[in-house]
């Protein structure tokens, strides 16, 4: 169906497209789930809508309520769109070193922004948001890192859509941030087709982001369940940029930088499958388009230049 009562009703139902040029052979194939085709242009529309609807159903969100969320981008943009349609006020806590496009987009959809220090990245945004929530008990923090509705959106939506379009799927590759996508899709396939392997691609940032991390008190999202994942790759900015450029050059798909990291892990899996001589149909997530990241310099110049420009940025 392609007719909807409103924009919010059109979340999900995204296309799955093959990658004829980047797939190693007819036996080992790559498939891209185009989540940039959601209303605000990212996979986060699914989680944002699901979290708001769950909070409404629980009676936590009532008309005129204020939503608070630590987010450096896509979740905030998705929440802002849904909140504007439902009459909620939204306050986003985001690290000061996130791209200007994202701030403009958030303000455009009516969100207010509170900046958290760049050092410490999203951990710091989470810490600041938790403090604000404690000081303002009437604000509703949906908290994407620990909200089961985040994973549930993918259990009920993303995963069954992929399963219907690609029943022969052997591997699913997604990005590891809040872990919502991997937890939801992972749990669905564990229940419905347990031989599907779940592969995580985790972005690896520059020194600035890790600099202050204490090894005894790090951050693992409350949603994360290691048993739902079969392998986990750490992908640096150089590989992410290289792959995101290959994706647009070879297949015409213009994606954001985090998708480059996911494609890197998907190609690593494809190489493993090819080497072991097994058939593979590998589905990976295109999280969003590249538009919001043009100012990062990731799409122009040499890889060295792009890598230098991304150092210290939260590129995924």
């Amino acid at each position: 169906m392609t007719r909807y009562d409103s924009l919010v009703d059109s979340v999900g139902g995204t296309p799955l497209v093959g990658l004829p040029r980047l797939s190693p052979s007819s036996e080992v194939r790559l498939w891209a789930k185009l989540e940039d085709r959601n209303p605000t242009g990212s996979i986060k529309d699914r989680a944002a809508l699901a979290m708001i609807e769950a909070a409404e159903a629980e009676g936590r969100l009532t008309p005129g309520a204020t939503i608070l969320e630590p987010t450096s981008g896509n979740t905030g943009i998705s929440l802002a769109m849904v909140a504007s349609q439902r009459g909620y006020r939204l306050i986003c806590v985001m690290p000061e070193n996130t791209s200007e496009e994202r701030r403009v987009l958030l303000r455009m959809w009516g969100a207010e922004i509170i900046s958290s220090p760049a050092a410490g990245g999203s951990n710091e945004a989470v810490r600041v948001a938790k403090g604000l929530a404690a000081d303002n008990p009437d604000w509703v923090m949906l908290y994407q890192y620990g909200n089961p509705a985040n994973a549930e959106a993918h259990y009920r939506g993303t995963a069954p859509e992929i399963h219907a379009d690609l029943p022969e799927i052997t591997h699913f590759v997604g990005g590891l941030g809040t872990t919502g996508t991997l937890m939801g899709v992972g749990r669905y396939f564990r229940e419905h087709q347990p031989e599907v392997r779940i592969v995580a691609a985790e972005p690896r940032y520059g020194e600035l982001v890790y600099g202050l991390r204490n090894l005894a008190e790090g951050f693992v999202p409350e949603l994360y369940d290691e048993s739902l994942i079969d392998s986990r790759f750490s992908v640096g900015p150089r590989d992410a940029v290289r792959r995101v450029r290959e994706l647009v050059e070879s297949e015409g798909i213009f994606a954001g930088i985090s998708t480059g990291a996911i494609l890197h892990a998907a190609l690593a899996q494809a190489a493993k499958s090819t080497k072991s001589g097994e058939r593979a149909d590998i589905c990976f997530i295109v999280c969003d388009g590249g538009w919001k990241y043009l100012s990062t310099g990731a799409y122009e110049g040499t890889l060295d230049e792009a890598e230098d420009r991304l150092d210290g940025q939260l590129w995924a």
Partner: protein, 92 residues
């Protein structure tokens, strides 16, 4: 057998400020023992009760060892090991 180990900022006090050091071992367990012999104290920051600490991630050629056999993950000459603190995702 030389394996490059990248050290996070927080642990460079043990490596005289070096970002990367060479170590040897045919498994992560052996590698950490070798690291400890060269940089006393670092082992305790990585392990707790014989396991990798919850907020420490160790990668061999970019793959998380928790999914490749943990401390018994095998190493070969030329592998790269990266140690990182666990952090929240970026643009979420």
């Amino acid at each position: 057998m030389a394996i490059e180990v990248r050290i996070p900022t927080i642990l460079r006090t043990y490596t005289d400020g070096e970002r990367a050091v060479d170590a040897s071992g045919d498994s992560i367990q052996a590698l950490i023992e070798d690291l400890e012999s060269r940089h006393a104290g670092i082992g305790e920051r990585l392990l707790e009760d014989g396991e990798v600490r919850r907020f420490v991630n160790i990668y061999v050629n970019d793959e998380d060892i928790r999914f490749t056999g943990g401390l018994s993950t095998e190493l070969s000459d030329g592998d790269t090991v990266v140690i990182l603190p666990a952090v929240a995702g970026g643009a979420r």
